[in-house]
């Protein structure tokens, strides 16, 4: 279990008051999505693509430095990439097309370019999303998604999930402590005989808690919508500040197209 005592979902958040922390969540969401779109739009076969990736990487690292996100945190964010790194590393070996000799290995030129491109794009996008998660509380992100007109029912499901992920995760953690203090070691497939029923019990407890929560909410006048507090006005300068990241990346990409 990766979750610390602070909870599984808020574990990625680093409290702070940097300019990035203070931006409105919806502006940050749009900025990161637009940035990822620009990065993905970079053509992998262009000779100037590596220069654009480098510039994009520097942009993200710059934002991370402003936000005070430590390099170690960024590196840990990259762990999710591992399964696809394996895929990208295999590409030069299996792709078709003209081949080049690198260190005595016959590699596909096309595969090298696309494998490298996939790795570069995924890494830059993961770094950007890591900075977003490190500077925005889960609850703030929820408000951001709501302001971006995500359907109301989906927002509520998300809200319940974010509120209960830590509760359900805590239940799981206590079950694990109980198992291991009775000598359980899940080192072989036989562990499934223990872990399966544990997960089953977790589902029953989660579902029953959901029913109790729903009844408690009904008795307090819940009618299918949640009362919303006053909406915080977003200062006019926040959108341009947040969008400067994708705008710079787009400028770099445009320069690549013009000069390359």
């Amino acid at each position: 279990m990766a979750a610390g005592p602070a909870g599984a979902l808020s574990a990625r958040y680093i409290a702070g008051s940097s300019p990035v922390h203070r931006l409105a969540p919806q502006a940050k969401l749009v900025a990161v999505l637009a940035f990822a779109l620009v990065v993905v739009a970079t053509p992998v076969h262009a000779p100037w693509a590596p220069a654009v990736y480098t510039a994009d990487l520097l942009l993200v690292l710059g934002v991370a430095a402003v936000a005070g996100v430590a390099p170690g945190r960024l590196a840990r964010g990259l762990v999710v990439e591992i399964p696809f790194v394996a895929f990208a590393v295999l590409l030069p070996f299996v792709a078709r097309g003209p081949r080049v000799e690198v260190l005595g290995l016959s590699l596909s030129e096309n595969g090298l370019a696309t494998g490298g491109g996939i790795l570069a794009k995924a890494t830059i996008a993961v770094l950007a999303a890591t900075v977003l998660a490190a500077t925005t509380e889960p609850r703030e992100l929820l408000h951001g998604l709501e302001r971006l007109r995500l359907p109301q029912l989906l927002v509520q499901i998300l809200m319940f999930m974010i509120r209960y992920a830590d509760v359900v995760g805590g239940e799981l953690q206590r079950m694990r402590v109980a198992r291991e203090s009775r000598g359980f070691r899940g080192r072989h497939l036989g562990a499934l005989r223990v872990l399966g029923p544990a997960a089953g019990a977790l589902f029953v407890r989660s579902y029953e808690r959901g029913e109790r929560v729903h009844l408690a909410m009904l008795s307090r006048g819940y009618d299918g919508r949640l009362p919303q507090g006053p909406r915080r006005a977003v200062p006019a300068t926040q959108w341009p500040t947040a969008l400067s990241l994708p705008a710079s990346a787009a400028a770099v990409l445009g320069a690549g197209f013009l000069l390359g």
């Binding site: 999710v80 794009k121 959901g210």
Partner: protein, 234 residues
């Protein structure tokens, strides 16, 4: 297992995004019929459950470990529409809070893990329980097969998307073979844990298993001899 940014080209990402948005819109409407006004709390708690269970790694082989994807299990437990919503929310949280799965690939991930896995898993379970005898064992067997198939089929759907909009020129047959091989193994783990979880829930609260509706019987109240309250005469 999540598709990151930049793996598929823009038209494919947009197309899967539209497909995912359409499916979620239908699911939002249909889930109200499964759960009516309980939709938000129950789907939210199911999502929290899936999220928590995905953090439990079980040993596979040679020191590697895997975790549940949960599409088929969730569909059998809470019904397909609620399952689509729960899986979508889990994927959204993973993309936004954990950078697991790209933001531009969110539609692709929802289509593969939320839609294909759920539809295949639930479809197989419904088809098999319709022909198998109405017993707990056949529901468990059907769920195991559904969970097992949902994983390689989702992987094959990914290979198909990669063939349509992949950025690399690779022999698709080889990729499909490798992906299917790996995911058949992962599917075995998925099936084992799905059956174990379902067995446990069926033993305690069979009424919570959506796909076990056909197993439910009217409670039979039998008179037990010797337990009549005092003063009651026959």
């Amino acid at each position: 297992m999540h598709v990151p940014d930049g793996f598929l080209d823009a038209p494919t990402s947009v197309a899967t995004g539209v497909a995912a948005a359409g499916a979620v819109a239908v699911a939002l409407r249909q889930a109200r019929q499964e759960l009516d006004d309980r939709t938000a709390p129950m789907a939210g708690l199911t999502a929290a459950f899936v999220f928590a269970v995905q953090m439990v790694n079980f040993p596979v082989a040679a020191g590697t470990s895997g975790h549940l994807i949960g599409g088929a299990l969730t569909a059998v437990l809470v019904g397909p529409w609620t399952a689509v919503l729960s899986m979508t929310v889990v994927l959204l949280v993973q993309a936004v809070l954990f950078a697991d799965g790209g933001l531009t690939a969110l539609g692709t991930n929802v289509t593969l893990l939320g839609l294909v896995a759920v539809v295949i898993g639930y479809g197989v379970v419904r088809a098999l329980t319709a022909v198998l005898p109405r017993t707990r064992t056949s529901l468990l067997a059907a769920s195991g097969i559904g969970a097992f198939l949902s994983v390689p089929v989702a992987a094959l759907a990914f290979v198909g998307l990669f063939g349509l909009g992949g950025v690399a020129d690779v022999p698709l047959g080889a990729v499909a073979g490798a992906m299917t091989g790996v995911h058949l193994l992962i599917g075995l783990g998925e099936a084992a844990i799905t059956v174990a979880v379902l067995g446990a829930v069926l033993a305690v609260r069979p009424d919570l298993v959506h796909a076990a509706g056909h197993l439910r019987r009217e409670a039979a109240l039998a008179r037990r001899p010797g337990l009549e309250p005092a003063g009651v005469t026959r």
